[in-house]
């Protein structure tokens, strides 16, 4: 895969800042624009930059876990958060909140909607990773295409 120095360097700078932004969206989502879905998409944008700059191998190295494990655990988390209130005698998706004092951040109101949002975030992230996994790389002139397809499926 051919690398362009300028793209490579800008992605190096941008990648982590976009990821931090995506986490900000995730946590801000309760009362402000953002949320798990928007956060996940932003993280997906960061991954797509990495993919463009350095190919699918670099994306794989950045996430040691398999993409479908990320996707599955996200769905698992969200579905569990949706069902647990039923066991406690509430309605599906019902939420509760706690307000805590944290040393650096001050007063923080945390709701049980947050784990649900984290689940959505992971789901979208996993989906993005799976999409790039499926796109793969441009095949080398004499590489074994079949082996590549096997890895992607």
């Amino acid at each position: 895969m051919k690398q362009l120095r300028i793209v490579d360097t800008s992605v190096r700078v941008l990648y982590h800042s976009i990821f931090v932004l995506s986490l900000y969206f995730l946590f801000a989502g309760h009362n402000q624009p953002g949320g798990g879905f928007a956060g996940g998409l932003t993280a997906g944008a960061a991954i797509s930059l990495r993919y463009i700059a350095r190919g699918v191998g670099s994306v794989r190295r950045a996430f040691p876990v398999q993409p479908w494990t990320i996707l599955g655990s996200g769905l698992l988390l969200s579905a569990t958060v949706a069902i647990v209130p039923l066991l406690l005698g509430g309605a599906v998706l019902e939420h509760d909140d706690v307000t805590v004092e944290l040393p650096l951040l001050g007063t923080v109101k945390a709701t049980t909607a947050l784990p649900f949002d984290i689940g959505v975030y992971l789901l979208v992230l996993g989906l993005t990773l799976m999409a790039f996994e499926a796109f793969g790389d441009e095949p080398e002139p004499d590489s074994d295409l079949a082996a590549d397809g096997e890895a992607a499926s």
Binding site: G72, L75, I83, L86, A91, L93, E94
Partner: protein, 499 residues
């Protein structure tokens, strides 16, 4: 608050997640799928009993009161549809596990199948028009994956048509949804039921026709059906069976629900519905006669049978709706069983074409019996369940003095009998004229692995049970019909009266 109402939707999603995470171990995936679907079936049966005893079951998601939150509602119609659909999903899952074709080769089969189950259950349970859209999408996105499982070129070609048509229908649906919301300010169906009568008469009829058109594409109504016989037969056997059994029927359910609940009497396009019903029956059955492939014949019959259900709806009487609902539930069982048999035939003979198969009545008599019983029922011969369903519809048609459509439905029955005979003669009698290009699996003693036969047999037995308990089931269908004709009970249960 009712915990059970949300579970048919939430449990399969949870199961799908577990199935993805544990994708490496196929036996675990199988266990999860079967456990989730069996639990859903039990919950659905409990829901039927509860709805009969205590009335409509409502749950407001997140505890937000209607019409602001998302209402999940199970009335008699939803509960019956849940029972039938979860029973079919369970049987087809067993069949797929027994076949070990698409299911064994693809890690994604089980999670996607469970998402499909969640979408189907969600469409029946939701009391909110926007969530109906979401559940439809869940079901359709899962079906895009399942229909192209295997990746053969003809599957991809047919799958493209299917995806494009479904996406167009979805865009149309969400557009209509936007129009309804801008006119009424709500998407809660119970709330809409009180708001839409306040609108201008032309607008009401406009919405009725738009909703009919949108769901008509998904249900395969004339003239919007041409995608269906083209795409369904290319999917793997069990997938075709569950699509034929359930997907179009969810569209019919949506038509019945929206036309009776949302659209007030007087604005319903009843004449249009009856004309469309007649044309759907006739065109579907004529299309079937021209085919030379068991799966394609049966796929055209899906279209034809949809016409019957919409015929019952178009009468807008208690008897007509009872007939439509009975026909709908019965047809889900029949179509699933017939296409499961088609899946077995395809595997056993290496082909589904009438010219490339023959003599199965001697080589696989068990399979022949499992085709014969539901086929006779589909044609509407007594004493099978299809006879009860058609008798109910014809009776309703006669008492509403809708002579033309009743006569059409009787004539179409004759043609249905003819094409079932054609399949019987082509596949089970005679000898094959040509050798199929694919290899046949003739080694199994009864024509297929035991699990496939058990699953198919269970569905056939269910259709026989419908005939056996036709009396009480018909009474239930009449109570459903009465609920649908007068939706005030539904509205009250969701909105909690005037308080």
């Amino acid at each position: 608050m009712n915990a059970l109402v949300a579970l048919p939707l939430a449990l399969p999603l949870l199961g799908a997640a577990v199935s993805v995470v544990l994708g490496r171990w196929r036996p675990v995936q199988r266990l999860v799928t079967l456990a989730v679907l069996a639990t859903s079936l039990v919950i659905s049966v409990v829901l039927v009993v509860r709805v009969e005893r205590e009335g409509i079951q409502v749950s407001q998601a997140g505890g937000w009161p209607a019409p602001f939150g998302i209402s999940l509602v199970v009335d008699r119609l939803s509960a019956v549809m849940l029972v039938v659909s979860s029973a079919m999903l369970l049987a087809v899952a067993l069949f797929a596990i027994g076949e070990r074709e698409g299911e064994g080769r693809h890690v994604g089969f089980h999670p996607v199948y469970l998402v499909l189950a969640a979408g189907v259950a969600g469409s029946f349970v939701t009391g909110d028009l926007f969530n109906l859209f979401v559940c439809f999408e869940m079901m359709l996105v899962a079906s895009y994956v399942l229909i192209t499982l295997g990746g053969r070129p003809d599957q991809i070609r047919a799958g493209m048509t299917y995806v494009v048509i479904s996406l167009v229908a979805s865009i149309a649906f969400v557009t209509v949804l936007g129009l309804v919301y801008s006119a009424t300010g709500t998407v809660n169906m119970a709330d809409l039921s009180t708001r839409i009568p306040e609108l201008d008469g032309a607008l009401r009829t406009g919405f009725a026709v738009l909703l009919l058109g949108v769901f008509g594409i998904k249900a395969g109504l004339f003239p919007l059906f041409s995608w269906l016989p083209d795409s369904y037969p290319t999917a793997p056997g069990p997938v075709t069976a569950i699509f034929a059994g359930l997907l179009t029927k969810v569209g019919v359910y949506a038509i019945i629900r929206t036309q009776t609940l949302l659209i007030p009497e007087g604005s319903r396009p009843d004449v249009l519905i009856l004309v469309v019903a007649g044309l759907t029956m006739v065109i579907g059955v004529l299309g079937a006669i021209a085919q030379d492939d068991m799966k394609r014949i049966l796929s055209f019959h899906i279209v034809s049978q949809i016409g019957y259900m919409v015929f019952g709806l178009g009468l807008f009487t208690v008897a007509g709706l009872a007939g439509a609902v009975f026909f709908l539930a019965n047809n889900i069982v029949l179509k699933t069983s017939l296409l499961l048999v088609a899946g077995i035939v395809d595997r056993f003979a290496g082909s589904c074409r009438l010219s490339e198969t023959g003599g199965l009545v001697r080589r696989a008599p068990v399979v022949a019996v499992m085709f014969g019983l539901p086929a006779l029922s589909l044609a509407g011969l007594p004493p099978f369940s299809g006879f009860v369903a058609k008798l109910g519809l014809v009776d309703a048609g006669v008492s509403s003095e809708a002579w033309a459509i009743t006569a059409v439905s009787l004539a179409v029955s004759l043609f249905t009998t003819y094409s079932m005979t054609k399949i019987w003669a082509g596949v089970f009698w005679g000898e094959r004229d040509r050798t199929p290009s694919r290899t046949a699996h003739t080694s199994d003693r009864f024509g297929a692995p035991p699990l496939m036969l058990i699953a198919t047999g269970a569905v056939v037995a269910m259709s026989l049970a419908i005939a056996l308990f036709a009396g009480p089931l018909w009474d239930l269908a009449e109570r459903i019909g009465a609920d649908l004709v007068d939706p005030s009970g539904y509205v009250e249960a969701v909105l909690g009266g005037d308080s």
